[in-house]
Symmetry: C2
């Protein structure tokens, strides 16, 4: 291993030597013909196997009536069967009657929620399609599919930076209280995508106390990783936002989303929305036009498999046992390879599906491209910013869940190598530039 010294403090000769050395190593990696994909936050096969019992809990001998006697096989039931509402209510930490259970995708619920607001407004407000301008706050780095929804509806995405305690709340408060055209904000409050950290109690309280200029402003609270801890005791705790909003006299401020996609099966889970009774009433006016009801048999299957929230918590411990070594392996490899070089930093989440990896400004795209050419597919650089445009070209989302551990380790060694190579080249390049044009590397 080369001596640990920040690249920025190295001489041209030292860097040149390092670049040569990394290039040799990189060539060797390329010769291995790897094919490793860590581009998306997909559960791995072992995780999916944990839920195979779901295929057995209902059989042709089962009674498919739910506890209120409804035959789950037939039409009807708009908000969900009672026992599923209780389970999902417990999962979302809200009373069972404050939720609607939908189909298999919480993303679809979010899309529908924006779409309905666009075509019909929010609780009687002017439909957004009739307004000249609609804006939205995107916490960055964040989730690309969130940003894509608002972009698709022609909404202007405004970036607010993520901090270790959540979004920059000074900025959020300032924007929301003065601009009536701002109608919402995308949040992943717990084990956030991609940073992995969670909003502090203060952040949640400041959200609950927002005084938006727009009456139809809503917080889109995508609690995708509420149950997705890596450790049994060392867990982040997130204040329950609906209760906080009620206490703050802002009961209708939040739509909360969640699903069992990364608990049971990503393609075949159940997704839900939780919000105030007023908001639910408003939403059901549309929902009853849209569908006769969602898949109740699958709701019943989930209840019969998990039993109750305790069963689900126990189940999540099994997921954690599979994911924990993967997260630790990524952190370990980055630690060993990059500590002290001053070219990268990364988060160490206690849950969720991602590690956020920040490299020297202007290097992210090149690193992702180098990795791809060595057979390691990462999430495209920039994906964590609206429109795929990271102004610093410095953030990469690491998704450790899908590859087997040994592949993951190989892939991360490649990522670390590509990082060193690209950053060394960048530092070298900057040494060659006239002094005044040298930009300081981020962090």
């Amino acid at each position: 291993m080369p001596a640990v010294k920040p690249f920025k403090e190295m001489t041209k000769e030292e860097l040149t030597k390092l670049v040569e050395q990394y290039k040799v190593e990189y060539k060797k990696v390329q010769d291995r013909g790897l094919e490793l994909n860590m581009s998306r936050g997909k559960p791995c096969t072992e995780q999916l196997d944990l839920s195979m019992g779901m295929m057995d809990v209902l059989s042709s001998n089962s009674d498919l009536r739910c506890e209120d006697g409804t035959d789950c096989r037939n039409y009807g039931v708009l908000a969900g069967i009672p026992e599923a509402m209780e389970l999902i209510g417990d999962m979302m930490e809200v009373p069972y009657d404050h939720i609607i259970i939908y189909g298999n995708s919480s993303l679809n619920i979010m899309y529908d929620t924006v779409s309905r607001s666009y075509s019909h407004g929010v609780m009687g407000s002017t439909p957004w399609c009739k307004l000249d301008k609609v804006k939205w706050i995107c916490v960055v780095p964040g989730y690309d599919r969130h940003f894509a929804i608002t972009q698709y509806f022609g909404i202007e995405n405004i970036c607010v930076p993520m901090t270790p305690t959540g979004p920059d709340m000074d900025m959020v408060e300032e924007l929301v209280s003065h601009d009536e055209s701002i109608k919402g904000i995308w949040c992943v409050p717990k084990y956030s995508n991609p940073t992995g950290n969670s909003y502090s109690d203060e952040t949640v309280r400041r959200f609950a106390r927002l005084k938006p200029a727009a009456k139809d402003f809503r917080i889109y609270w995508d609690n995708a990783y509420g149950m997705h801890h890596l450790y049994d005791h060392d867990q982040d705790h997130l204040l329950e936002i609906l209760a906080e909003c009620k206490r703050a006299g802002n009961p209708d401020l939040v739509y909360k989303f969640a699903s069992t996609s990364k608990i049971s099966f990503p393609g075949s889970g159940i997704a839900a929305l939780a919000t105030s009774l007023n908001n639910l009433e408003d939403i059901k006016q549309q929902l009853k036009i849209q569908t006769i009801g969602h898949d109740k048999v699958n709701q019943l299957r989930h209840v019969r498999f998990f039993g109750d929230i305790h069963g689900m918590v126990e189940h999540m411990r099994k997921h954690a046992d599979i994911l924990r070594p993967k997260f630790e392996a990524v952190e370990d490899i980055l630690d060993r390879n990059l500590t002290g070089l001053g070219i990268a930093s990364w988060t160490k989440p206690k849950g969720g599906y991602f590690i956020s990896y920040d490299v020297m400004d202007g290097c992210a795209k090149k690193i992702v491209s180098r990795a791809a050419k060595a057979g390691v597919v990462l999430t495209p650089a920039g994906a964590t910013y609206p429109g795929g445009k990271d102004p610093h070209d410095s953030n990469i989302r690491i998704a450790p869940s899908f590859p087997p551990l040994s592949d993951l380790k190989t892939a991360m060694e490649v990522v670390a190598l590509c990082t060193k190579l690209v950053c060394a080249e960048k530092c070298l390049e900057e040494l060659d530039k006239p002094a005044e044009t040298v930009k300081t590397a981020k962090k």
Copy 2:
């Protein structure tokens, strides 16, 4: 049984006597305290039991990869797994690559299709939300949930009457070719809801040859009952509309919808849209924003259960064996009670879920209300017209599927009795009116 003679030809005395007699009978029925519901086209328990094998075809030992190797449990696959696309393609009589498989509800697909056109337009046209006026053709009597979707989007529903060969095509052609604000038409082309008849070949060809003034006009072809024959040989045949449109040089004119809701389970089936490749491309631009993919495990479950289209056809014969006696019982009871009285007529469908029942003008609401007070819940009178407003107050939708046969027979005797009572009262009332205000009864 009273002598069979049209009520209209009866004297005041004869009618008065009949009304008295019917009232006595009606009182007796009320005393029985019936509770019978035939308000919606729901499959009965026996029909649902036919598909219980679906609960066994996947188990914890099953390989849940589909034929192209995709793990159906995980994220991904926007249009459907290959084997399900083949099965549903066969069911919809279109090539497998012309479909998208969605979730459990074709109504939801139709809603989404209107919603997308409203917010984003159709293949680049002006979004309907930016237009002053959007109109739609509703074939009446028709399906209330169709009409509710367009009404919800503020679209003006224009009625065109159903005839024994399909919608009045002279009116459809005239409207569509001259009014650019008309953007669509709701059709249930086979075993139509509620009339039960099917569009003739000429009707389908005239649809395929429409020359709409609006480029973004689409035919919403809800082939909900494509497989739902009552008889093994005596079946309606519907020309395949997408192929006809292609031949007519109008390939993009139609969105075709279907589902397995009344084949497997109404709450847990799979629904699909079939259309031209151009339309599919346009739709996928939105779909990929809306979801990561629909429930592939359920798609796999359907394929493993039905095997192929032959398996599905055989399965539908079992449904027919349950439904046929019910349809025949309804027709038999109406025949026995009402033939020759000149107060009602009804359709005799060869498939589908409904019988359309036409009574004397101004009597439908009263009959439904009378039946309800005797414990028989029917579909609300008027439900088959936009806004629930039947201008003649004469159409009632009979849904024979849900009640057990013995209950159904009881219920239909009640319906027949209420019809006689209400119509006799009506005729009596009209005899008392000055001659010039007497309206002639429909049919």
